[in-house]
């Protein structure tokens, strides 16, 4: 029963990821796509937590942390690129 509930949660998360992929393909502007990518990262993190409970192993906990950090940094880099056109700024008047 517990396993069935976890499977249901996993299916719901994968539905969310499919809908976010639709938004990435369809999205009219660049920020739309970045928001959908961020959402995919966050949902992947949650579904990895469910999978690691389903398999009763603690091996995937690091993956949760690393995915959280990577999706955050990716969103920040994309938004800097959209705002200014560059990611790493260089100062010329030094």
């Amino acid at each position: 029963m517990v396993n069935t509930l976890m499977l249901i949660a996993l299916i719901l998360f994968s539905f969310t990821i499919v809908i976010a992929v639709y938004r990435i393909i369809r999205g009219p502007s660049k920020p739309d796509r970045v928001i959908a990518l961020d959402m995919i990262g966050v949902n992947l993190l949650a579904s990895i937590a469910v999978v690691s409970c389903l398999l009763e192993t603690k091996a995937f906990m690091e993956v949760i942390l690393i995915l959280g950090i990577l999706s955050f940094i990716g969103t920040i880099a994309f938004s800097k690129y959209i705002e200014r056109g560059v990611i790493v700024e260089r100062r010329h008047n030094r």
Binding site: P31, V42, I82
Partner: protein
Amino acid sequence: MNADTIVEYTAAILMVTGGLMSLVSAIGLIRLPDVYTRSHAATKSSTLAVLLTLLGGFLYFWALERFISVRLLLGILFVFLTAPVAGHVIIRAAHRSGVKLADISKKDELAEAKERLMEEQNLERLNREKKNDSGV
């Protein structure tokens, strides 16, 4: 039915609630009209979904083998800190790069405030130039 079974069921129900929350945010992501309202759906309820799911995982491992997973707690803390920040940053970039609002939205207060600021700066510059001219 002992206490651990109850905690396991609670954890599973928390996970299913998190899945429902994330489905709600996905429906918001496809149904809402423009990028600002979409981020409203995508950041908040998706954060709540992840918090519920990670809390469920934490409870499950505690009930299963009395293991307090610091990594899951750190994951909860990190998602709770970074998801609103990421949403704010990406929406600021969207507004600065000039993404249009939806047609049904009535007012764009940030754009109005920006325009007012530009006008004030222009007026100030004109006044300064006039003063310089009369001084010469």
